[in-house]
Symmetry: C2
Subunit: 144 residues, 2 copies
DNA sequence: GCTATTATCGCAATTCGTTCGCAATAAGGA
DNA sequence: TCCTTATTGCGAACGAATTGCGATAATAGC
């Protein structure tokens, strides 16, 4: 299996874009965080490593990471988008507590079947899904 | 089955809030739009009806509609959230074309089973879900 | 390797969705 | 009807995201 950097370089080359240290710093930061992240977290992480990078560059790199399939949007919360790296992972379903915000990851094979079925019915070439189940977690539901 | 206005009034009363014409105008607008909507669309619709309402009031009413279960967030797009009324409806799954943005609604019973199963495993009191399947629609996939 | 071209960068200004402060208003209980 | 105070409209403020621009540096061609 190719590394995320290899995947990214291939994507960049195929698009006729330039390989730059800034873009690759973002890729490394994204795969150094094993959790959901937002632009500011990437920025703080990179700046803490004495990397000289601007937020504008991070914002401009995000669409490339999305298009190359390395990351996906996880959810919109607190006024901004949160992402997660998905290359090499399979947990793209989330269970969220509406009270405390806790998020549990899970994978459910049946959703793949739904993808296939729906794609056939509506004539779509399906490439992925995003499922969020929400409710009240064990700790929070007792107060209801 | 109660009307949406009745449900809303009950919710408002139970929360000890005040019944205002502005809030009910928003409820009516929300159920007059049989599609996904955003705050600005509500604003334009209400203003076009010579209703004197401010955007701030619409923004302040949205959380009430969410909490009362009359609407839900549909998706985040073009820099802002989009909603849909769900009271009296059951289509809360979306199939989206990544190229042209087309959205098809569908309902899938199996997702209810996933809800139940996941809720049990992780000890959550599940109240709902949001499933978005994405890919390329019939028209767009031929250009790939 | 050197040079020319131009994509990309950092920075600051801008845009735009959303929230907030506040004075005026009006809902609802006494 | 009066009083309390939640709610409103307005405009300012806030914050995420985008953009314009001059400087920089990646890459292709020589
Ligand atoms: Mn996740
Ligand atoms: Mn819908
Ligand atoms: Zn919780
Ligand atoms: Zn399409």
């Amino acid at each position: 299996m190719k590394s995320e950097i290899e995947v990214f370089r291939e994507f960049i080359r195929n698009k006729g874009l330039r390989k730059t240290p800034e873009r690759e710093q973002v890729v490394r930061a994204v795969f150094a965080i094993h959790d959901h992240f937002d632009v500011d977290e990437l920025y703080v992480l990179l700046r803490g490593q004495n990397e000289r990078i601007s937020k504008a560059t991070i914002y401009r790199t995000i669409p490339l990471l999305l298009e190359s399939g390395l990351i996906q949007e996880a959810y919109f919360e607190d006024g901004h988008l949160h992402y997660e790296h998905i290359y090499g992972h399979e947990h793209n379903c989330h269970l969220r507590c509406l009270d405390c915000g806790k998020v549990v990851e899970f994978t459910e094979e049946i959703v793949k079947d739904v993808e296939e079925k729906v794609g056939e019915i509506y004539d779509f070439l399906v490439t992925g899904h995003k499922l969020e189940v929400y409710g009240h977690c064990g700790k929070c539901k007792v107060h209801k």
